[in-house]
Point group: C2
Chain length 118, copies 2
């Protein structure tokens, strides 16, 4: 259903590794695991916990709705984008990947997915 | 001690609002609260919880050391940069602020602070 969109997003972004659409309950809806062995499903489950903490913090601080969270380690960059109340997506890049292009792609893709998931 | 560095960083970045150096235990070391009433200390405390979750996830996923986390809501962008094992810093920007310049500034500043805090 969404697999081809995830695949083309990963392939279009320089340094793209894997992508996933996941429920805030940690259950994956669709994923494109890429080809380098990154465990995008476990990453999604772990980062769903992070995202819940971010949403709690945003609410408490009254700084509006959470839109995006980016996590950089020395081996991977993960961009999380909220799709709607129930789902978020992650695009994982290599550290040298094109972060600007990746963020732009998710900003375009998330509202499209939101419509299809409604 | 570090207040002037935080202030000049906030003032140099287009859209800069406030900055803080904080322990992972949620206790602030130094802050520049800016002038628009953003509660950077509470933000720091809340995001210290997020950062702890990110570090736990990075460890579990074996994707290397966490370097940076960016949180965007529709009212604020917060860039968290790890300084050393004990401290991290946050630079808060308006949503239209220059994220690229802010990330670059923190990438330069964090190792300097790490040396001074050793």
């Amino acid at each position: 259903m969404f697999a081809s969109k995830l695949e083309s997003t990963v392939r279009d972004i320089p340094g793209g590794r894997a992508a996933i659409i996941m429920g805030f309950d940690g259950i994956p809806l669709e994923s494109y695991p890429g080809e380098d062995g990154l465990d995008i499903e476990t990453m999604g489950m772990e980062l769903s916990v992070v995202l819940k903490e971010v949403r709690k913090a945003s609410e408490l601080l009254a700084v509006g709705d959470t839109e995006e969270v980016t996590v950089r380690t020395d081996q991977v960059t993960a961009i999380l984008r909220i799709v709607n109340h129930d789902y978020f997506m992650i695009l994982a890049l290599s550290p040298q990947g094109n972060l600007g292009k990746a963020r732009y792609a998710l900003r375009i893709l998330a509202p499209q997915l939101s419509i299809e998931l409604a």
